[in-house]
Symmetry: C2
Subunit: 217 residues, 2 copies
DNA sequence: CAAAGCCCGGCACATATGTTCTGTTCGGAA
DNA sequence: TTCCGAACAGAACATATGTGCCGGGCTTTG
């Protein structure tokens, strides 16, 4: 028990109780409880006891408080890191299938739905949007029917980035790794066992960069 | 303008300003601002003006307030639905590669990292854990090197579910659709163009159910 | 033009809420 | 025992914060 460096510092039962209550309250209300909310919620006899234990929790890196500010409690992870990362709202602009181009002006479209994602899922960049994949035309990009792809609007790409490319003469959008090679472009499937295709640079139009893919079951 | 059921109701510039400030403040502090915070943050002359516009925002379904409670503002989506879904903490328990079994007792392992995910990414079920995929042995499940898989601990599965199955005599974990067929089990790759494999039921051990996969670029 | 309604300013008020002070209780150390 | 610090009780205090009221400018409507 002693000298256990990596272990969480000891929390009294009351402190664990408070921590649980904080989580529950916040997830229910979207704002933190007041000291008296905690008092009644955890059956504690006095506000000073709550305050006392909150101070201990703050010392141990489980919460952060702003003095004099009501309900100013942030949940931390026990090592002083913020636990509740901010979320990013990503509009779902529609479906994508082989032969259907991506939306050209994502900003102007009315989203049919908005995804709430954390930065553990997608990096927070401006203009991100999502599309539902319909059909299996992108199986060579390891993307299946029903998956969701997150894209960042782009007109060009650096070599090696995964892009949504509109191939003009085929009238088709494809997701591939992008390698410009002089007058032509090599488009490499994500599945390393598959062969690349080559197109004239004129024939390829970068429409966006692939940022993430999601699949739920 | 009248009778437009689906459209968002008109928001004054000041109201949009307040809404933006709310988002910004909450994502920065993890707790909502007070009326006076909004006042100074949006350069509004009086608390009553803030209050007035908050009332309008509440009527229009963009926020919800609890009366008499300080900082009790929840963000809604304009149709009365909660916008800030609660997040789920999913521990990353390690890597997975061909030939490496899944952790048997996920609860007891110390996570090397914790993912913060919304319910738009994974359903909130107890015991979820994540693994980083190493190597391309799961390419037939449309899962690539570097992907993250989210699993739910399970000892059995319903037909058609995607499971992590330990195949004893091969000493290998595989992700496939699970179809029990009498004394044997059909394991169907997720890529519909690939053929299923068949194993004796005795030789297959369900270790978990695949809940989601994530890929970032 | 008057009446009505929307939006705003300024201010005082009530209360919601964090803080602090004084004690008390309980174990373990000296 | 005595001493001391951690944890707890209870209450008073100070301020942070939501609310109500009154009035004014502005537009709309008749």
């Amino acid at each position: 028990m002693a000298g256990d460096l990596s272990a969480k510092q000891h929390l009294s039962e009351k402190q664990q109780d408070i921590l649980r209550f904080l989580e529950e309250f916040i997830s229910e209300h979207d704002y933190p409880p007041s000291i008296r909310d905690i008092q009644t919620g955890c059956d504690i006899s006095s506000t000073s006891v709550v305050d006392y234990n909150l101070k201990r929790l703050e010392e141990k890196g489980y919460i952060r408080r702003d003095r004099e500010v009501s309900r100013a409690i942030e949940l931390l992870d026990g090592q002083g890191e913020r636990r509740r990362r901010s979320t990013v709202q990503v509009p779902v602009l529609g479906k994508i299938a082989a032969g259907i181009p991506l939306p050209v002006h994502p900003d102007q479209m009315a989203p049919e739905e908005v995804l709430d994602l954390t930065e553990d899922t997608v990096p927070n960049r401006p203009g991100l949007y999502a599309l539902r994949v319909q059909g299996m035309s992108m199986i060579d990009a390891l993307i299946n029917d029903g998956d969701t792809v997150i894209l960042e609007p782009r007109n060009s790409a650096d070599p090696g980035e995964v892009v949504a490319a509109w191939i003009k003469d085929r009238e088709e959008t494809t997701l591939k790794k992008y390698y410009p090679e002089g007058a032509r472009v090599r488009l490499q499937p994500m599945n390393a066992s598959m062969d690349p295709i080559y197109e004239d640079a004129d024939n390829v139009e970068v429409q966006g960069r692939l940022v993430a893919t999601l699949r739920s079951f």
